[in-house]
Amino acid sequence: MIYINQDLCKGCLLCVNTCHKHVYAVSDKPNKKEVLLPYPANEKNCSNCKECELVCPDQAISVDIERNWWMSKDNTYAFNPNFAKKRV
């Protein structure tokens, strides 16, 4: 689950700019302070890299997702685990 704390978020949209998986979208309705806040529209795309958590200047984002970018859905590696081994 990706959670944006709407009391802390100031709507700078750096998270939207940072996410390489285009998880965030900008709301079209302003909040009480007339700011357009982001929300995680495509959460299923998230690779759990946590870059947005690190970049968010207001400590508003928490990414709490089980999956990793290196595991696919059927619990196998999403890359060849022997790629660094020498071929014989």
Partner: protein
């Protein structure tokens, strides 16, 4: 989902620890949200520091933060640790005193470009020369943010500020090179667009026994951005990202090619005798034991712990 209204979270989840950003545990939650403008790089640098601290395995309770005056210097006020908010430009001078009297503390200095390079420039170069074991994190937003956008010693040539309405004509300081030349043992420069590299440098700086200077080029959308036609934080961060060049790629380039570029990377990583160690050695040489620490409590050499 097509709208924020459809994005709902149950009340129960909102109150769990996992719903909080990971580094909020080190901050004074009652003081949040902090006063920094939307999209100010200072907030990102708070996260970056804590991630570096966790990677370096430094005990958070052993950290003391020192800062001067400026937006960037307000960071220690939001952190749950011992901190010293000192006068403008004197953060490194106060930190030197703190480190000499408590050599076991991990002293971290948060300072702005105006704070450390203009009014505090003298303290900066001399702390680097003496190689005292401090970790200085300089948030370089190329402007005096707190006082309303005056030109700072690192403002790029041609940039506009409230004291330079026709553009800055002076050549800026290259802080990382200046501090490396003054003798600091670890110097790096990164930007808020390269947080992971900055984390690595903060980790190295905290571990380094000597003067560590990490300059992080940051965005001030409110003053620098607004005056230089980059009002949105995203515009500023993309501008910063597009103007960076790695130090190894910059080596063969001339001044004209490096115009408006931010050279990032490690500028120094070496070893040299440390200032507080030198004092202890001197004391041992002449008196046979270490100096009195915390002299407000101890009055003679006999009571000092060995």
């Amino acid at each position: 989902m097509s709208n924020i209204d459809e994005y709902t979270i149950d009340e129960g989840y909102e109150k769990t620890e996992r719903a909080k950003a990971p580094f909020i545990q080190y901050l004074r939650e009652d003081r949040l949200p902090h006063i920094f403008c939307p999209g100010c790089g200072n907030g990102t640098i708070i996260n970056t520091f804590f991630k570096g601290m966790e990677k370096a395995n430094i005990d958070f309770k052993n950290i003391a933060m020192v800062s001067g005056i400026g937006c960037s210097s307000r960071i220690p006020g939001y952190v749950k640790c011992d901190s010293l908010h000192t006068t403008h430009g004197r953060s490194i001078a106060f930190a030197t005193g703190l480190k000499v009297s408590n050599p076991d503390l991990d002293v971290v200095v948060f300072t702005g470009d105006g704070d450390c390079a203009s009014i505090g420039g003298n303290h900066l170069i001399h702390a680097a020369r003496r190689n005292i074991n401090l970790t200085v994190i300089c948030i370089n937003n190329n402007i005096y943010g707190m006082t309303g956008g005056q030109i700072s010693p690192t403002s790029p040539k041609g940039s506009i500020g409230s004291t330079a309405p026709y553009g800055n004509r002076d050549k800026p300081f290259n802080l990382a090179e200046l501090v490396a030349a003054a003798g600091a043992t670890y110097v790096a420069r990164w930007t808020t667009a390269q947080v992971e590299s900055a984390v690595k440098s903060i980790e190295k700086g905290l571990k380094n026994n000597g003067f560590s200077f990490i300059e992080i080029v940051s965005q001030c959308p409110t003053y620098f951005g607004r005056k230089n036609k980059m009002k949105q934080p995203v515009d500023m961060i993309n501008h910063i990202k597009n103007s960076t060049i790695y130090i190894n790629n910059a080596k063969g380039l001339n001044e004209y090619e490096l115009k408006d570029k931010i050279v990032v990377g490690e500028f120094a990583n070496k070893e040299s005798p440390e200032f507080t160690d030198n004092i202890q050695e001197l004391s041992k040489e002449f008196y046979g034991q270490k100096t009195i620490r915390r002299s407000a409590f101890l009055t003679s050499f006999d009571k000092e712990e060995k």
